[in-house]
Symmetry: C6
């Protein structure tokens, strides 16, 4: 049997805009994790940008980009 990868993204559709925003946050984190899969390294790096004004703005920008995708996927919850 083939190896089973963890399934973490089955759909871009969410019930509410707020759940969509949370999914955008998740996508942003998975983008980071794709580049650095070592959770221990990630934990060590986290304070670096979570306590830096520019790091936080950059993180918010990635979320904004992913929220554009999720919002379009949900027809803007109209």
């Amino acid at each position: 049997m083939a190896e089973q990868k963890e399934q973490w993204l089955s759909s871009l559709q969410t019930d509410t805009p707020q759940e969509g925003f949370e999914l955008a946050i998740k996508l942003s984190r998975m983008g980071v994790k794709a580049t650095q899969p070592n959770v221990d390294v990630l934990k060590k790096l986290r304070p670096e940008y979570a306590h830096d004004a520019f790091g936080l703005t950059a993180a918010s920008q990635v979320i904004a980009l992913n929220f554009q995708t999720i919002s379009a996927a949900n027809d803007y919850w109209k």
Copy 2:
């Protein structure tokens, strides 16, 4: 009963473009808060970019991205 999360984003629709811009500002701040939920840390960091020309431009860029989303969600208030 399940824990109730704070509801802060019930709709992307707004009455006017200006209210849409204000919602874009709110989304940008919530993106920051998602990465650094500690309000005391945020308050301490705020002067860092609010008094830095590049930090302000970066903040304006995140707002621009979120305003793209909100504007599309409102069919550009046509």
Copy 3:
């Protein structure tokens, strides 16, 4: 009576592409102002990026993002 906020954005529609570009510049500045409302601080910071090649490129990028929004709102003035 409720406090009246200044109205500065009543519509995304403009008569010409050039007026749309000017509105994009205005949105970019309002994004900065949302983060730093103190006009005196802003005036002091302005030379920092207005005399810096990278600051100017970053400012042009925010205008480009907002011009994307305004252009779509005007169906590209077709």
Copy 4:
């Protein structure tokens, strides 16, 4: 008589994709000029990023954003 502003952007439509790319370059420069209208200052700053690998990449990014707008305005010259 009212003061006449220079007209520099009468249309987003171009005959060919290459002319569209040239218009995207023009928009990028006008975004810079909107922030720093002093041509002498601009000329002095130009070598700063035109001889810097990161400055050139950033300039190319702004052109890419404006080319997205122009391409959509021309229905991708299909």
Copy 5:
């Protein structure tokens, strides 16, 4: 006979959103490889950003942009 280039991108369509995210990661890496095709150099550089909070955020941003493209190509897997 003409030289055969390696084929690595035959379609933007994927079966699931998660496979689409993986394709977005691949596009981001191919964008890096286009600029620096020397695999040995790439391997040496990798730790630089994979152990840097800002480098990881930047990498996540490129993935977010490519995921926008892939998601649109798949009509958001609706």
Copy 6:
């Protein structure tokens, strides 16, 4: 007779997604060249970002933006 400019972009349509990605790379390079037309300077600067993790990520980001345009122009090669 009028001077003939070099024609380098006659269409955004390509046969395959991979050719579209190559065109996105070309657009990114032409955006750099528009800012710094001196090929000797460009050759000298190239190692600066081609051997820098952040420079490579930034280059990949510009390609991602241009690939968004090219993909839309080709209706995502559906």
